[in-house]
């Protein structure tokens, strides 16, 4: 296809977190996005969750700003209630036929006042709450939905089923938005590429009676349980038994419901996320009610992700959650009162019968049939597990060129992997459509900002009900009335959900009408929602920084939920403090800086090369820094991916592509010795192999420095030559060395150096790796006896297939968790391995020709130096710590620096490649803008107070403060303290040091903190003296 004919817009199918991420990255990278969502609002499954693991953030809170961002983006066209019928054409120019189903409510007119819903006479089970609560026939999917427009459920609506009847909503709708004649329509979209983020559905355990789902009310799915735990859920977050609303005392989680099962369903794969979400839900319960007994019945706890193992350990040791390794065959009722009986065999082979109040079925993920059909119709290849068939080397490419996939449609995965996938798909699209970047995007200039610096503060206070989250505890009317009495407060309003789209519009209107110039939002936490409100201020034409949030939800209503009077009084205090602070708020201008259109990629492994190649394809200059003499990194030791793809061939092709690309300059035997600058304009000093130094200017950095392998100290490694580490074994195996070639008996030992006290993390890829090696050995000679000694087999996702395959081939798996690690000793010509069997509880003895140790993956020790240079954090295990484990998995708090591959955490090749593409997407998104605006949350010098004593210079961790010389009016040479606006990160250490209040972080000036303090202590009686 010629470049001229390509279309600069993209279709993203699926409005879940993965699709949203793809849409945002693409829209910010210069492509117009049609975001198609089959339900009435975007968000996917995440809004239904209570919290996310392992950060325990509130799910709604972290996704809400992204929802609004999608909703507001000028280059994202959200099409809800829309399904894709067909896709024709080819990469660069597709024609997509979509069907917009009728909403029966005119989105342009609906003001989401909710009167329709409150008057609608028809109640139906609410699918958002998994049928545990009711909603009306005219409804919004959830209170923070984007777009916040009502929709009519045509199955439930009385009028739509019986013309002449009802129609109340149409009669009372203030803007007359109801349209019963809405027929929906087919539309054709022309796009250059398609991203399929079709998502998943939870497994329906009601398909079999065994678990009692649908039969006994106290058997719920994990998703229902999320709703029970959620403050917005059917019980308002209070945990009670569905049968009798009595408190819950004993809970059992049953794992692998609808996963790893080819009997009761046909889902052989592992759903990847259930172990972690079960732990999360269990911890949530234990946090709220430590006396509740919680047991998780499992087969293998699969917690291979970053910080997951610690989470698991914390659950077990600190939270007293009981983990029982036994899969529960079924649930039976006990008595008439709703109790449930579980019968199982414990680790010792004894029968145990337990009674619990509540059984939570940890249901797996599967692709909805409709999505499978769509994929088939379009011609996308699917795996036997009914997920999109992808290559590990191209983890977001479908079998059709120009059509990409991400999220759980690519196989069961958690939120960060879905977010990474969304970004990775965006990067791949951006590379494809680079010639037509910016051809269809539009930019809407914000309204002109009025100068309020000389105006007296006119403060607007917006008190949020947050549904019942705040209003259920705090008397919001009283708080609002009180706010009106505070000095300088010119306007007070109350809103059901201040963060909803319609309230934002209302705020804009009120700011303009009442000429407000300072805003206080008394709602939730600024950490998640301030950026949202800042945009609102911007659209209202006042400076976005003239806002302060009073955190009356997280830090008030929720922590004093039993003391409404106290909470109301405290809410008033918090509002008073916010008002006091905001009146000292000043307008700030973001700093605009131009961007160097080049990227420094550190590390020439697969992750680094993938990022480099994608960015070069996106048209950016790339400097790829490799410390050795060849590209390839750890992948040089790999033979095949879990799905059997040949790594050396892929590596050779990737290497050639990188070396041949005109925009990539590879610096071999090079290391970074110093780095300076900031987002958009970094300057790094490279030392090359010839010990020459060279300076490179670049706009962004991708860190892909890989990891190291653990050299075992256990299992007689290094003492018995037949005991080797897996990477060594692979080499021997590849060359068919005699020890391997003649070997008849092989023992693999898992978790060598991982998941112990020293390294409490899982190295993630070793189970898969050992099983692959074992299968290969067995295939070569079926009479070989192969044993894998493990603690937990963690073949997550569709990798479970190779675990099943290995067992079918007769490979023996022995769990050594219960009886302790195996003992190794030399015996004649081979190695004697002693281990106890976990089922028979008897000692086993294996004469092995070789023992292969699955050694841990360690953080690269060189990361420390790099972290210091770029001012990046490392986690406790020495891996780079991303900005947010869930939603910002490749970014840092330091702008312009991204991470990918093993430098972030041990992971298999396909995840490294995904992450590398995601990092490239983020870098590309940054560079696609000619200039960027930096947050002006920086220290400012008050010339009236600063006397250039220079005390602040040395304390600044970023060397952002300098003394500049100038001549004063009398020609005397003077010095003055200046702050580099780009280097400064706004920590305020200078502010804490200065004895004269000569330097303050904007938005947190000492005067403002003092004002807050005074407001907080207004009612407190001062000590008997004026000063102590």
């Amino acid at each position: 296809m010629s470049e001229q004919a390509m279309i600069g817009s993209v279709l993203v199918v699926g409005g879940g977190i993965s699709g949203m991420q793809a849409a945002l990255d693409l829209a910010d990278s210069g492509y117009f996005v049609h975001l198609v969502e089959k339900t009435g609002a975007i968000g996917g499954a995440m809004p239904q969750y209570n919290k996310v693991f392992p950060t325990n953030d509130c799910a709604m809170c972290i996704i809400s700003p992204k929802l609004v961002e999608c909703g507001r983006h000028p280059n994202i066209d959200i099409m809800t209630l829309t399904t894709v019928i067909d896709i024709n054409g080819g990469a660069g120019d597709f024609t997509v036929r979509v069907l917009e189903h009728p909403r029966y409510v005119d989105s342009a007119k609906c003001i989401a006042c909710g009167q329709c819903s409150s008057r609608c006479p028809k109640s139906v089970d609410d699918s958002f709450n998994i049928f545990m609560a009711k909603r009306k026939a005219i409804y919004i999917k959830y209170p923070q939905a984007v777009p916040l427009k009502y929709q009519i459920d045509p199955q439930a609506c009385i009028r739509l089923n019986e013309p002449e009847k009802c129609g109340i909503c149409a009669e009372i709708c203030p803007p007359g938005a109801i349209d019963f004649s809405d027929r929906g329509q087919e539309r054709y979209l022309r796009v250059g590429a398609v991203v399929m983020a079709l998502g998943f559905q939870p497994f329906d355990p009601g398909k079999t009676r065994a678990w009692g789902y649908g039969l006994y009310p106290n058997v719920v799915t994990s998703l229902q349980f999320e709703r029970f735990l959620s403050p917005g859920g059917p019980t308002g977050g209070v945990l009670v038994r569905p049968s009798d609303r009595q408190p819950v005392q004993r809970i059992a989680f049953l794992q692998c419901i609808g996963s790893r099962d080819k009997n009761r369903c046909n889902n052989e794969y592992c759903s990847t996320v259930c172990c972690m979400y079960a732990i999360k839900e269990a911890m949530t319960v234990k946090e709220a009610c430590p006396e509740v007994e919680v047991t998780i019945f499992y087969l293998d706890m699969r917690t291979p992700g970053k910080e997951f193992e610690r989470y698991f350990e914390q659950a077990r040791t600190e939270r007293n959650i009981r983990f029982v390794r036994s899969r529960i065959h079924g649930v039976e009722p006990k008595g008439q009162k709703g109790d449930l009986r579980l019968h199982y065999i414990n680790a010792h082979g004894r029968q145990v019968e337990e009674t619990v109040d509540l059984v939570v079925l940890s249901v797996g993920l599967e692709t909805p049939d409709a999505m499978v059909r769509l994929a088939e119709k379009i011609g996308i290849h699917m795996t036997p597990d009914r997920f999109a068939s992808i290559s590990a080397f191209m983890p977001v490419h479908t079998s059709l060129q120009g059509i990409f996939t991400c999220g759980a449609f690519n196989g069961p995965r958690d939120i960060p992997q879905s977010v990474i996938g969304g970004s990775a798909a965006a990067a791949s699209v951006a590379a494809l459509l680079n010639p037509v970047r910016h051809s269809l995007t539009r930019s809407l200039p914000p309204p002109p900002e009025q100068d309020v610096s000389r105006q007296e503060p006119r403060i607007g206070v917006f008190v949020c009900h947050c549904g019942t989250n705040i209003a259920g505890v705090v008397d919001v009317e009283e708080v609002a009335a009180y706010a009106a009495t505070l000095p300088q407060v010119a306007h007070v309003a109350r809103n059901l959900f201040t963060c909803s789209q319609d309230t934002q519009d209302l705020m804009v209107q009120q700011i303009r009408e009442k000429r407000l110039n300072r805003i206080v939002v008394a709602a939730c936490t600024p950490k998640t929602h301030e950026p949202l409100f800042r945009k609102t201020l911007k659209s209202a034409g006042i400076n976005e920084y003239l806002i302060e949030m009073a955190n009356i939800r997280n830090q008030n209503a929720w922590v004093h939920s039993q003391e409404p009077e106290l909470a109301t009084a405290k809410a008033k205090d918090l509002v008073r403090m916010a008002v006091a602070k905001v009146s000292g708020q000043t307008a700030r201008k973001p700093l605009r800086i131009s961007i160097a259109p080049s990227v420094l990629v550190i590390g020439g492994g697969v992750a680094g090369m993938t990022s480099a190649l994608n960015l070069a394809e996106q048209g950016y200059q790339v400097y790829l820094i490799e410390k050795t003499q060849q590209l390839g990194g750890n992948a040089l030791h790999l033979y095949q991916t879990w799905s059997g793809e040949h790594v050396p061939r892929f590596l050779r092709e990737l290497r050639e592509a990188v070396q041949q690309h005109p925009l990539i300059e590879v610096c071999y035997t090079s290391t970074i010795v110093a780095a300076g600058g900031h987002v958009g304009n970094f300057t790094s000093l490279i030392r090359t192999g010839t010990n020459r130094k060279r300076t490179i200017d670049h706009g962004a950095v991708i860190i892909a420095t890989g990891a190291k392998r653990y050299i075992p100290e256990e299992f007689e490694y290094g003492k018995i030559p037949k005991v080797v580490a897996s990477i060594e074994f692979d080499k021997l195996h590849m060359h068919n060395e005699t020890r391997v070639a003649n070997g008849k008996s092989f023992v693999f030992i898992q978790c060598v150096g991982s998941r112990n006290r020293q390294r409490p993390y899982c190295s993630k890829s070793c189970c898969t790796h050992s099983i692959q090696s074992a299968i290969k050995l067995k295939k070569e000679a079926p009479d070989r006896r192969i044993y894998i000694l493990y603690r937990e087999i963690r073949t997550y996702g569709q990798r479970e297939r190779i675990y099943n395959q290995a067992r079918e081939m007769g490979i023996v798996f022995i769990n050594y968790e219960q009886h302790g690690p195996p003992r190794i000793r030399k015996a004649d010509n081979n190695v004697l391995v002693e281990v106890w069997d976990h089922v028979l509880h008897r000692p086993l003895e294996i004469r092995a020709d070789m023992v292969i140790l699955a050694a841990a993956i360690l953080a690269n020790p060189e990361a420390v130096a790099l972290a210091t240079m770029f001012k990046l954090p490392l986690n406790r295990d020495g891996f780079f710590e991303e900005a947010h484990a869930k939603l910002r998995p490749v970014e840092f708090h330091v702008d312009g620096v991204f991470v990918a591959g093993l430098a972030h955490y041990p992971k298999p090749l396909e995840e490294s490649i995904s992450q590398a593409l995601a990092a490239a997407a983020k870098a590309g998104r940054l560079l696609s803008r000619k200039e960027i605006a930096l947050e002006p949350n920086i220290a400012l010098v008050d010339p009236d107070r600063c006397d250039d004593c220079a005390l602040c210079l040395g304390v600044c961790p970023y060397q952002a403060i300098k003394l500049a010389e100038y001549r004063d009016g009398e020609g005397v040479l003077r010095k003055t303290v200046t702050v580099d606006r780009i280097l400064c990160k706004g920590c305020g250490i200078c502010q804490g040091t200065c004895p004269k209040r000569g330097i303050d972080v904007a938005g947190f000036t000492t005067a403002q903190l003092e004002a807050q303090l005074d407001a907080a202590l207004e009612a407190a009686a001062p000590a008997e003296e004026g000063r102590p």
């Binding site: 006397d947 005390l951 210079l953 040395g954 003394l963 209040r997």
Partner: protein, 306 residues
């Protein structure tokens, strides 16, 4: 009262050493010039004027437009005089560091009045014996703004003569006096880089400098590790010129009191040291950093020692 009448100046001392008054006199010609601008109605150093008790046993002090009060308040009698002065003067100026922040006498706030009494007047062999009528002490030494409302602080130990005269002149003319608001560092010409050695040298240690070279080539004394109080002390000792101690190449002792009126020289300096990673416990007798500003409750008897 004729319209041409000059504003009256009342100058009184409380718990003071008369250094401030002498500084004014040291102004020489400047002082003489001042006489053209104000009528001095009360000035104990110049005029041996006894203020007898008035009608109701109150001190008999003349009314004035401008009152300069040096010294802090340490006795009941002084307090009574101060209150009278406040009543008689339209503008009351805390004259010198003692009046503004307690000054040297307030060092005794580290002990209770009783402890001081016993130490000085009972235990010390050199103390006078015999029967004397002592003034009745207050519990501690107060800055005058702790007891009455004060319109202006004119700190310094003593204040610079030029500044005193200029201040009175400005007040007499009805202007806002121009006083230093920034710290000693403002006019300190030493070389500062923002970094420095991470230890504290003894206060008496000499600074490193080339005696031949001008001061502006000398390294900042604090950065040299000398406990210079410049950054936490309000400037003015050198006028718009180099601070006096720096001129002598010794560290600032903090005699003008805190740079912010509410500031705490001890806390601020320790904070600076702490921020720079210096162990503040290396300082012997940290409380001596409040040697000029021990009023306002910043120095208190150490109850643990007591």
């Amino acid at each position: 009262m004729s319209e041409t009448r000059r504003p009256r100046l009342c100058c009184h001392w409380l718990h003071a050493c008369s250094g401030c008054e002498l500084a004014l006199l040291n102004g020489g010609d400047l002082f003489l010039g001042l006489l053209q601008l104000v009528d001095i109605v009360h000035f104990p150093l110049l005029l041996d004027y006894k203020y007898a008790s008035g009608a109701e046993g109150k001190p008999d002090l003349p009314a004035a437009e401008i009152g300069l009060v040096s010294g802090g308040v340490a006795s009941k009698n002084q307090l009574e005089v101060l209150r009278t002065l406040r009543g008689q003067c339209r503008i009351l100026v805390a004259f010198g560091t003692c009046a503004s922040h307690g000054g040297i006498p307030a060092l005794r706030n580290q002990w209770t009045a009783e402890q001081t009494w016993n130490t000085v007047f009972q235990e010390d062999e050199r103390s006078c014996s015999g029967e004397f009528e002592y003034e009745k002490w207050l519990d501690r030494v107060y800055a005058i703004d702790e007891q009455v409302e004060v319109d202006l602080l004119l700190p310094g130990c003593p204040p610079r003569p030029e500044t005193i005269v200029a201040t009175v002149a400005a007040l007499a003319a009805g202007h806002q006096p121009q006083l230093a608001e920034k710290s000693v560092c403002e006019h300190c010409p030493t070389v500062r880089t923002g970094t420095g050695r991470m230890s504290v040298r003894r206060f008496l240690a000499n600074a490193d400098y080339d005696p031949e070279a001008p001061v502006d080539s000398m390294r900042c004394l604090l950065e040299q590790g000398l406990l210079c109080m410049g950054p936490v002390t309000v400037g003015g000792c050198g006028g718009r010129e180099m601070p006096l101690c720096i001129r002598a190449r010794v560290p600032c002792r903090g005699c003008y009191g805190p740079v912010r009126r509410q500031g705490n020289q001890l806390l601020d300096l320790l904070n600076v040291l702490a921020s720079k990673g210096i162990d503040h416990r290396a300082i012997v007798d940290r409380r001596s950093l409040l040697r000029f500003s021990g009023a306002h409750g910043l120095l208190k008897p150490n109850i643990r020692e007591g």
